[in-house]
Symmetry: D3
Subunit: 252 residues, 6 copies
Amino acid sequence: MRTNRVREIWNAGGNVVNGWLASSSSYSAEIMASLDFDSVGVDLQHGMIDFDQALPILQAISVQPATPLARIPWNDPVWIMKVLDAGALGLICPMVNTAAEAEHLVQAMRYPPHGFRSFASVRGPLYMGPDYAKNANDTVIAFAMIETRTALDNIAEIVSVEGLDAIYIGPSDLALGIGHPPAPDPTEREVLEAIEHVRRTAVDAGVVPCIHTAGGDHAKRCFEQGFRLCTIANDVSLMRKAATAEIALARK
Amino acid sequence: MRTNRVREIWNAGGNVVNGWLASSSSYSAEIMASLDFDSVGVDLQHGMIDFDQALPILQAISVQPATPLARIPWNDPVWIMKVLDAGALGLICPMVNTAAEAEHLVQAMRYPPHGFRSFASVRGPLYMGPDYAKNANDTVIAFAMIETRTALDNIAEIVSVEGLDAIYIGPSDLALGIGHPPAPDPTEREVLEAIEHVRRTAVDAGVVPCIHTAGGDHAKRCFEQGFRLCTIANDVSLMRKAATAEIALARK
Amino acid sequence: MRTNRVREIWNAGGNVVNGWLASSSSYSAEIMASLDFDSVGVDLQHGMIDFDQALPILQAISVQPATPLARIPWNDPVWIMKVLDAGALGLICPMVNTAAEAEHLVQAMRYPPHGFRSFASVRGPLYMGPDYAKNANDTVIAFAMIETRTALDNIAEIVSVEGLDAIYIGPSDLALGIGHPPAPDPTEREVLEAIEHVRRTAVDAGVVPCIHTAGGDHAKRCFEQGFRLCTIANDVSLMRKAATAEIALARK
Amino acid sequence: MRTNRVREIWNAGGNVVNGWLASSSSYSAEIMASLDFDSVGVDLQHGMIDFDQALPILQAISVQPATPLARIPWNDPVWIMKVLDAGALGLICPMVNTAAEAEHLVQAMRYPPHGFRSFASVRGPLYMGPDYAKNANDTVIAFAMIETRTALDNIAEIVSVEGLDAIYIGPSDLALGIGHPPAPDPTEREVLEAIEHVRRTAVDAGVVPCIHTAGGDHAKRCFEQGFRLCTIANDVSLMRKAATAEIALARK
Amino acid sequence: MRTNRVREIWNAGGNVVNGWLASSSSYSAEIMASLDFDSVGVDLQHGMIDFDQALPILQAISVQPATPLARIPWNDPVWIMKVLDAGALGLICPMVNTAAEAEHLVQAMRYPPHGFRSFASVRGPLYMGPDYAKNANDTVIAFAMIETRTALDNIAEIVSVEGLDAIYIGPSDLALGIGHPPAPDPTEREVLEAIEHVRRTAVDAGVVPCIHTAGGDHAKRCFEQGFRLCTIANDVSLMRKAATAEIALARK
Amino acid sequence: MRTNRVREIWNAGGNVVNGWLASSSSYSAEIMASLDFDSVGVDLQHGMIDFDQALPILQAISVQPATPLARIPWNDPVWIMKVLDAGALGLICPMVNTAAEAEHLVQAMRYPPHGFRSFASVRGPLYMGPDYAKNANDTVIAFAMIETRTALDNIAEIVSVEGLDAIYIGPSDLALGIGHPPAPDPTEREVLEAIEHVRRTAVDAGVVPCIHTAGGDHAKRCFEQGFRLCTIANDVSLMRKAATAEIALARK
């Protein structure tokens, strides 16, 4: 049986460098998964990707060693269950603002008696092996995104929800949510304090702190701050960045 | 009526920086086309792209100012005519080894009496305006790829074919074709001489010399050498390059 | 006007053998629908199928005599209404645990004044004929899946909901829901008793009892028990079963 | 920065002729957008279109001057946010029956502090320009569909919701909702009075009245009545109408 | 066993009104096939349709009584055999200029010993019945398009090719091919004489004369002239025509 | 670097059990590849699969240990090169009737100096490792299908073509080609003798004999006869066979 490498890295005290996919191409997905990322997340919220495109993308990631994750568009059982069936080993759920919402996420991700995930043999056993169903509740990772003032107010209750594995900060949304302009690598003191408050509260509750970053340098600083998974930009922003630089060289 | 910006730049004595798409996502295509490229080519030969995906990609490029080009997989009327119908304003054709093959390419791209392109009103008028049919023969650009020893031997005849607008060198294939390892930015003297020989022969015949490059720096050198259109890497290699750099920063 | 053959078979006292599709291919869908199934269900819950793929699948089933059904991923108006618009003549809805949920399902499936299905002329009239809108409320079949302990507790109220045509048991989920390992053809006494209790309660309320089975032999036993529609495995598990047997023969 | 032409026309006191897409083809979408429509709406509710097809359709509309709108299938944040991310400049939301539902729609469409739309840079800046995020709350248009008796009862409260820009009447659903047969161009007095009541209540509250019509003649009458945006049939019904007429000519 | 209705109509002395599809939507295909067309052709040459989209389109046509035909993009065995496998009952082949090309078309469409169509059981038996393979050579219809001066010169030889069932004139290409501007409903005397010459030569050889027309009125005149199958515009031009008319009414 | 398992098995003296895909679902492809097949072939000739669907299918096979092969629709460089780029490790080419055609196939599959395959870094290095380009000519397997009388006449010359690795018999086409009814598991003496003649001629020339079979039992007999790769039915015929059997059980 294959294992969830993200959990293994965390269990070994390591940090996870996570890639991010906003484009629907299974070809670029496989390329991203072939690089030195520990995991690659399929962004079904803000990526231009729908469920039918997520299946080949998750298969393409599975060809390579990186662990397949996904961000679902909402805390919605349709997306939670279909994307887990398609083989994602962790789900990042946006806009988790209360303990009740965190519980809903966790329960929709777990088979009874720990939740209400509907049972079926789909890509889990194909990708992970015949024991998938038995181990799925302990394998798939539940990430709650903390990105509003309400979530900040409820952070202690949210991270106390049993079965919640990790929190995931979206700095732009969090900044916007507490009255600042969106900034992928924020510098406003209030935003930085909110981020650190969330991180520390999560750690104290045994929940892994994770964050979306603007790039490798930002990720390095976040790892030093104590984050354990950092997402680095996404496929199309990386492409745009490199293209802009190469065009400038060509036009010099 | 919209015009073909590549022709305009050439007519004004300028050089064209061309982007390249190997992934089938119309979203990343639109992003590429929004950058400072003069044109963007859809690679239907080595890209993981099929005709049905080329249509939305060409539409996505059309939202932005860059001129839509395409590399077809072979000198084949099916692909030539379908991709022109879908709105490409220039076709780069691989493996043109003889004057007869160049003539076939040119004729398949032109309406009678200059060729045998089949007539229909498809995306041309939608994108270019109602005069598309009248002007198409003078608008769409025919690029012949020179990438084998046979093509080298026949280069003078090839560039003499009436209606051939440009030649396009694929350095890796050309290197391989004359007995050297494939190299996107070749350094072998024989390969460099072959490239320059093709370029000069084209220029002498009034045919525009174009080349596939390994990146902005290589493109700059090629422009200085006298090439008038340089393709810069492709969407997924740019993504890979930037991702590799950011991962290294994160892991430092 | 075409009729809903499943209703006709039931009205004539017969039993329905239902096929099941987990793969997104409209080609294999048409093959399944060409066999001796009375109906074929598109599994949008655990199948690797999205809405855009459901349309050609439902069209492909419509070429053949089998009646098109679908399992929606959740009791969600988006899916209920889009899949009915696409031509499904019955919807199997997972996780119906209360009478309120059953009422929601039924109402979302019926045009006013019997519900709140939004009105439009889409595939219904194309497939069924011009009277579709007038007859749709009496034509499309509402199936509520009974698969949790809560649903068991509420079964009498659920089957009393006006307009609910059928209940549908998922044995694996039901087993898991009441504390047993998932089993497509259960043998645990408590599970078997729960199944029979649901069946009998449904029958007593005039609601048709239906069940997902592990294969033809299991289906035969369920028909003998009094179930009126049995789903037989699915397209990919049938393929897997036959492939495994043929490989064994080849390797003997 | 591009502007939302529908808002501009309204601000200038003009009326909007809106096209409507029920087919998933980005080619026919571009053709529709090239005609003399001011805006073109992608019907994700009753059209046979899914999110992954909406992206190339919205891109195709963006090639042409018409403003891209969309009807979402339900008042659901998944659809609201994904379709706005894909570049729609206005969302028509079905079945808005209460002020609370109208508020939910509006809030899901606005970035904080005016709502809870999740922040990301996707097609907005590509299509509209770099200021998209700053201006999005004032740019995208929120249309609430009024189509049930409950909505009629609550119309005054609904149109008082801050940030609701427009109401949109679906005559067939409204007729059905108040006890009459569905009619795209209704003649029943009660239906006509309900429509006029909704229109006037909206106008009085400073909300723009819009309506789905059966064709150009119906639209003309609605403009005369004071409606400011009229949708004209849809792509496939126009096709069907013209095809039926041409077949009749051919068979004469 | 189902029959090829186009052959039946011809055998009964009747004329065939043929619809035409340029858009890739299987939904609009089914609508077109539900109208009073005798047959509907999938335009894989100038339509924005690829093979993978042709399958669901052909399935969608098969739901309705109209006979499925297709225009292939070239006289190419790949397209000929794949499209026949997908269930087309007739192929219209562009640019047949010589008897040898007509023979190639015919042979690629027939199983040995009458040709070299590769054998397999695909959609033929699903759609037509178990006898498909035995009858296919006599069922599927081979149409050669006559649209160049060369073809005109060779028309007598072309229509003498055994197994060629029909010729199909594309007036715009034929006009262009003999030195006139493209015109869907030509009025130039030389073009009209060429069309009549082709028609009569075909009839004299027992080959059915067919033509692409600009609409119902043009078709009616062509039927009166002796053509036996007339294609009427296409899906998107019908849509465009009706939309333009309705917009004008709305804006009056 | 990964290796081509089919070559390894052959080198070790073993036989290859090959699966076959006619449906375009990457999900059923991954299931097939997870079974005890040594290799799985994507049937782009008679399968209802196009190039854009072949990419995710080849990726899905790559998740599992089976080696990805493909049957191309014709001896056409477009298909040969695109499918190799997409990661197939062997190509089965239909209708190879002469040594010249076999040479064309082989050359289109090999990089210079052994052929004219166009060079690019696509899925080869992703799937096989960084040495792909260097080893590709020795890795990918060229299979020529022998299925006509002409091919029978030329078999000795065909199998003498340098670089041809294997021949592949399609019994139905071969039977039809020599005047017998198509039969997947032929019993006619002339057909059996032709098959054995081809097999022996191939073996004598050091070319591996392969065959399409009707199932496991037929494959077993072919292995005993000396064939070294047997394809077993296909995904949809396996599905059909099992479905038919289960329906019969259910209806008993």
